[in-house]
Symmetry: C2
Subunit: 243 residues, 2 copies
DNA sequence: CGTTCGTGTGAACGGTGTTTACGGAGTTCG
DNA sequence: CGAACTCCGTAAACACCGTTCACACGAACG
């Protein structure tokens, strides 16, 4: 059946158990509670045994990030696919709502993946990889709108010239990681610019809500998010497709 | 001279030293590095002695939050006052730039104050108090624009009705904490709504930058921030006052 | 069969937050 | 002045943490 030897299967199995246990601790009590000894206790082994699977606690957390991103990506894809392919605008809304819903339902995971203060040092390698899985899900549903003329894309000469090089480099990176079949290369500079600004607004609002920075003002921040999303959609001329 | 006895002066002095030491550790190495024993070491005392001043490490961190907010508020006020009172729009810009600059220069402090994942439990009491000192500085410079007709405030009937009660309650709270002299009571529902949405965009973009969630795309996110701010200003009709 | 390799253990080191009992210095009051 | 009291700091201890190391045991391989 599987190419893997018995040993390899066992190893993969406990590896999964470790991450599952770590995940549960993270969800229930936050980052500081995911402890090697706590994980080992739950698995019925001792803490040093975990070093056979991960180089350090930090490495385990990085692996956790990837798991989380994969789950988030799957969650997002499911939400998106609940909308028909013939409604590209609604699919984007589904992605945005899905992201917000997931973040609010998993605050500690959100904080781990999307809010480590990057004090200078470059993000760990594995982190980027995991992030891409989430980014890919988002881009797949968003890209079609940005390359087609379905929304109002700002003219290239309205984006700050200091950004041109960065944006072109970013487009190249996108095209590479998304594969040749994606239309990433057709993105105009204005389109990439708009994408980043939209991402900033979406992420920003979600972070604001997850971190409770609106609690002092409103009891439910959902209407604010809804307004923000509607405003953004209107601003870019994203209208529901009549079916 | 001072009402305080000798004992009280000494106590206040070491209290300051404790927080200063904690602050330095936070700035240099992040939240996890601010350790009771490390602080004690630097002060030449032992760790349990710190319990004479703070009930726990967590309580000390809360006190740190207040210090940080006070410093941020002072920083903001200084930036604002570098602009003349006759240029209210420019003062708002100065506040926004100041907030971003401070956040990027103090990522760990920003994370501590503005990005603790609020997993259900209400924010600690002291935290809110500290936050207010920052909020007050911001509001003082922003309120005049929102009560006057200097910007385009959305009509009250365009804000979601579910928010009305919350917004009115929030206005009441503002009027209370800002004192009777402030024009907070004159805010329309649309104005409060616009304030919150603008705060969301500002905070959101800053958090995005501090947490390096744009690094994968651009080498410098400053032009993006500048565009966002300019877009926001244009949207609300905030134009520089001709002098 | 013997050997190697993978996986786990137990002990240990240095670090952490926190509690406890205790001592000594400063303050207050008879 | 001297006694009583309050405050500040200490040392020891507890339970926990990440991490390293030497060692053992069983499965896999030649």
């Amino acid at each position: 059946m599987s190419e893997a030897t018995r040993r390899e299967r066992l190893r993969a199995e406990t590896e999964r158990e470790i991450r599952a246990s770590a995940r549960e601790l993270l969800v229930r009590e936050g980052r500081e509670a995911v402890t090697l000894r706590a994980i080992a206790r739950e698995l019925g082994i001792t803490a040093p045994a975990l070093y056979r699977y991960y180089d350090s606690r930090e490495a385990l957390l990085v692996a956790l990030c990837q798991d989380i991103c994969a789950d988030l990506a799957a969650d997002l894809r499911a939400a998106i696919d609940r909308v028909g392919q013939d409604q590209p605008a609604e699919r984007v809304f589904a992605a945005c709502w899905g992201f917000r819903r997931w973040a609010l339902a998993h605050p500690h995971e959100f904080a781990l993946v999307f809010a480590r203060p990057s004090a200078g040092e470059p993000a760990p390698t594995g982190h980027e990889l995991g992030r891409d899985e989430f980014g890919r899900a988002f881009l797949e549903v968003v890209l079609p709108l940005f390359v087609s003329a379905r929304i109002w894309v700002p003219a290239d000469d309205t984006v700050p010239t200091e950004l041109h090089d960065d944006l072109l480099r970013f487009r190249e990176m996108l095209a590479e990681t998304l594969g040749g079949s994606s239309p990433a290369r057709e993105l105009s500079i204005g389109a990439i610019f708009l994408m980043l600004q939209s991402w900033a607004r979406l992420y920003g609002h979600v972070a604001l809500e997850v971190f409770g920075q609106l609690d002092f003002a409103v009891s439910s921040s959902e209407p604010l998010f809804e307004s923000m999303l509607a405003g953004l959609a209107e601003e870019v001329g994203l209208t529901p497709s009549m079916h």
